[in-house]
């Protein structure tokens, strides 16, 4: 399990560049939904503190705002159907 547990290193920043350095490169694909296991219960859509998901017309979650995701883990910890995978954790 070691590779999943990697912590992103934050290097000490040079003067003036601090902010730019601290910002991690954003992952365009932070969360994956397995639609075949998902039952469209809406828990992930409602509990995500960053409003990353939209519901499609059938109520299934769609990762609509991937760059908002902070990898807080709330969605996959609460998915009763094991239908969410984080690509970073």
């Amino acid at each position: 399990m070691a590779e999943e547990n990697q912590i992103q290193k934050v290097e000490p920043a040079e003067d003036g560049e601090e902010k730019a350095k601290k910002e991690k490169p954003k992952n365009p694909n932070p969360i994956v939904i397995f639609r075949r296991w998902c039952k469209a219960c809406g828990i992930c859509i409602n509990l995500c503190p960053k409003d990353v998901f939209d519901a499609d017309e059938d109520g299934y979650p769609v990762v609509a705002r991937p760059f908002e995701c902070t990898q807080c883990s709330i969605c996959w910890l609460h998915c009763p159907d094991f239908a969410i995978k984080s690509t970073e954790k």
């Binding site: 399990m1 999943e4 547990n5 075949r36 296991w37 998902c38 039952k39 469209a40 219960c41 809406g42 828990i43 409602n46 509990l47 883990s73 996959w76 910890l77 609460h78 998915c79 009763p80 159907d81 094991f82 239908a83 969410i84 995978k85 984080s86 954790k89």
Partner: protein
């Protein structure tokens, strides 16, 4: 707490069994996730665990988990678990019980396992109703709440599983809910490490029956109810009974260090010289 989102897949049995049988949004899946992550966190191997359940929606959990599993008769999970612990004391024995399964028909086994203080980790999924059979009231349905068998509101008083476990002699009792998935994982981890009879009561949502009959809304609404009505045990100490009236207390509520039964049983075998002769090879035993 650093387990990855993918560790659960290592413990799931037969991908063909999924999607599982539970209703969309049912909390039992969240509890199962917390349990599997607790196992991964402790680096417990699949072959070192025996998971035993009775009947009910909750009772389906071992069907999906790739441990040694036993899906037994209604109410008897802890009775079977007791037998397994005594014959295979090295296994980590986990009993999965619903509130009806564990406290109504199986209430007797629950208190006597606590009294013996046998090393079984019991996960009590409390959704306050009989889910599988259509919403009859259970020993944890609060007074006044509705069930198909209590159309005018429940007249009875519910059990507090904490008082029951503590009074009967368990070594550990903790409570959390499906909203508090991370806390639940931490508490299950503590329970797995604790020697003796340990209980984690996981408050869960059965929105399909309890939620509908009591107008408590969808899975999401019920999960948010748990967020709003949980009080940590340390904060609860400073509150009045009135302030705690419609709340539930979370965290480690009880811990003790009474001697554990299966260890004493093993020691007795040794004391009586029961292991002096060479044990019969297993194959021979099976033939008889």
């Amino acid at each position: 707490m650093a387990v990855a989102s993918t560790v659960v897949y290592e413990y799931l049995r037969g991908k063909k069994k999924f999607p599982h049988v539970w209703c969309p949004g049912c909390g039992i899946g969240i509890i199962m996730g917390a349990l599997l992550r607790a196992m991964a966190d402790l680096e417990i191997k699949k072959g070192d665990v025996a998971m035993i359940s009775g009947i009910g929606c909750t009772g389906r959990m071992p069907v999906y988990c790739d441990f040694h599993t036993l899906h037994t008769t209604h109410g008897r999970a802890i009775a079977f678990a007791t037998g397994i612990k005594l014959s295979k004391p090295d296994l980590k024995v986990v009993a999965i019980v619903g509130d009806g399964d564990g406290l109504a028909i199986g209430g007797n086994h629950f208190i006597h396992a606590a009294r013996r203080n046998i090393d079984i980790t019991t996960i009590l999924v409390n959704n306050k109703i009989y889910g599988m059979t259509g919403g009859q009231y259970s020993p944890t349905t609060p007074t006044g709440k509705f069930a198909t068998t209590a159309p005018y509101g429940n007249l009875e008083h519910p059990f507090d599983a904490y008082l029951l476990a503590k009074g009967a002699g368990a070594n550990f009792f903790a409570r959390s809910s499906v909203y508090h998935a991370t806390q639940l994982q931490v508490l299950i981890k503590k329970a797995l490490l604790k020697k003796g009879f340990s209980v984690v009561e996981a408050m869960s949502n059965c929105h399909t029956l309890y939620g509908r009959l009591n107008k408590e809304g969808s899975a999401v609404q019920m999960i948010n109810w748990f967020k709003d009505h949980a009080v940590n045990v340390n904060i609860a100490k400073k509150k009045t009974p009135e302030e705690l009236e419609d709340k539930f207390i979370t965290g480690v509520l009880w811990e003790d260090n009474r001697p554990e039964y299966s260890e004493q049983y093993e020691a007795l075998i040794d004391r009586l010289g029961g292991r002096k002769k060479e044990e019969k090879p297993e194959a021979e035993v099976v033939k008889q």
